[in-house]
Symmetry: C2
Subunit: 336 residues, 2 copies
Amino acid sequence: MTRTFDIAVIGATGSVGETLVQLLEERDFPVANLHLLASGESAGRSLSFKGKNLRVRTLESFDFSSVGLVFFAASEAITRSYASRAHAAGCTLIDLTAALPTEQAPRVVPEVNPEVLKTLAAPYQLTSPSPAAIAVALVLAALRERVDVQRVAVTACLAVSSRGRQGVSELARQTAELLNGRSFEPQLFDRQVAFNLLAQVEMPDSAGHGVLEKRLANELKELLARPQLKVSATCIQAPVFFGDSFSVSLQADAAVDLPAICAALQVCTALEYIESGDYPTAVGDAVGQDVVYVGRVRGGQDDPAELNLWIASDNVRKGAALNAVQLAELLIKDYL
Amino acid sequence: MTRTFDIAVIGATGSVGETLVQLLEERDFPVANLHLLASGESAGRSLSFKGKNLRVRTLESFDFSSVGLVFFAASEAITRSYASRAHAAGCTLIDLTAALPTEQAPRVVPEVNPEVLKTLAAPYQLTSPSPAAIAVALVLAALRERVDVQRVAVTACLAVSSRGRQGVSELARQTAELLNGRSFEPQLFDRQVAFNLLAQVEMPDSAGHGVLEKRLANELKELLARPQLKVSATCIQAPVFFGDSFSVSLQADAAVDLPAICAALQVCTALEYIESGDYPTAVGDAVGQDVVYVGRVRGGQDDPAELNLWIASDNVRKGAALNAVQLAELLIKDYL
């Protein structure tokens, strides 16, 4: 008989949490009891799981000793408030909110750095990295036998769903108002995002870098175990509902072997490689998929050691919920 | 008494041509007679110029000996067909379609490389570069005393108006259909551009580079007289009506002096520098303006010789029509 696990999903009513619950069902994760938790106002709603309606309960009164595995998919603040309580109760903890330091809960992508788990002891604490880091790291990991990358410049064009359901409804609202010739006061975003590109997604630090830009650089280095990698990261807000896109320019230590690189991308099961001429997009290809799309793979115009490419990924699914579920699958297979 | 000039605008009914005619009026260019020309189907329409309605006439029967200065703002094919006739008639020629080789009609941006004109002889032939090259070159030129740039990586997010009026109406049509829950067949663009980002704007060559990407790299080197500059260029199609945006990562030969760089950008009259914390956007700032906006100026996270910035520019105005009119102003001031 298969072992089953008692699981809690915190932030179950958010778009990542809801996708996570769907994936536990779709992938037939061995769930004994599933506890859906949310903070005050979302509690009371129901979500469907394996044909049953599960009531979302308030997090405040939850007894963590009743579960073995907890996904934190609400806010950073909620993870900070409840992680130590879950840990003390002996729960394995997978955080999607980047609230915990990497020394406590290392960033792991199963296809990139699964060996990190061997260095940990129960109860396990892992962080599912940012959607941008997951997408770019998957591509760089597929290439690491073929090219010694020294420097990565990424322009990450983020979907409004990276701001949750509110981001989605705000882009729809702004777009409808503009098409009807009406003016509006921006909400959530600091200005018009419809038919526009916003050059930053949060207030930068004193050096000009945003939190997500720093996360992308740090997480790439951690996931690839390449602390010396030089990363230039620009995160922008695109008027796209779902799916992140990444324009990536790499510099290697020597001339790149394009056919070998394309072949390596093609055989990687976590990726869908699109040949030159065609190209992937977030909306047309990546959204709803378990793989990350990569295309427009080309050398440099002026430098044989340069490699350029384009990545499209479902930020909610592969960029968050799916990676977290895959981490849980890895844990129950070899560690729990 | 001021000298005046007989001028022809070819492609007067396109968005660039129409803006060019507006700018000749706004900037009080010394026009004697203005001839508006277009190919067959657009001829017969009228445009307003200095309070008069001017009829757009067919290009086919035009007598180039009746004018001294010709703007080519229609298609590449039309420039190829008529440029030699205009040149043989003694006209000064300003091409906005990149149809002529640079040896014949060098790329010039008045604030960047006006000295090129000294090397030419009448009748003058000049090319107004691509909107992307104009915007990025203006910023790099403002910095050239302060930083020795070795490498430039640009992700150019192009507005649909770079495809003319048809691009604008296609984005509006796709957006309206989607908001109304209706399906549509894409036109002009090869797939859905509304709420999406397209990773290429034209069929790439066998090495994977698009024409605009090659133009951007070549024009930057020519404008800055830096044949050894290494350029990585990615041109993507954004769901933005007007205004191009550029994510730019530069590598210098030594640690960059950020305060000196910001000061140089701030004093450049062709630029509007936006301080860290705030940032410019295409729609909110650049569109309709004669200056190019630059912001998010910051160093590298991992490399003191790195410089990152964001540029927003009106692709139709500063990126095309205005640069062409400024070239004409430069010519009549010192050369005609």
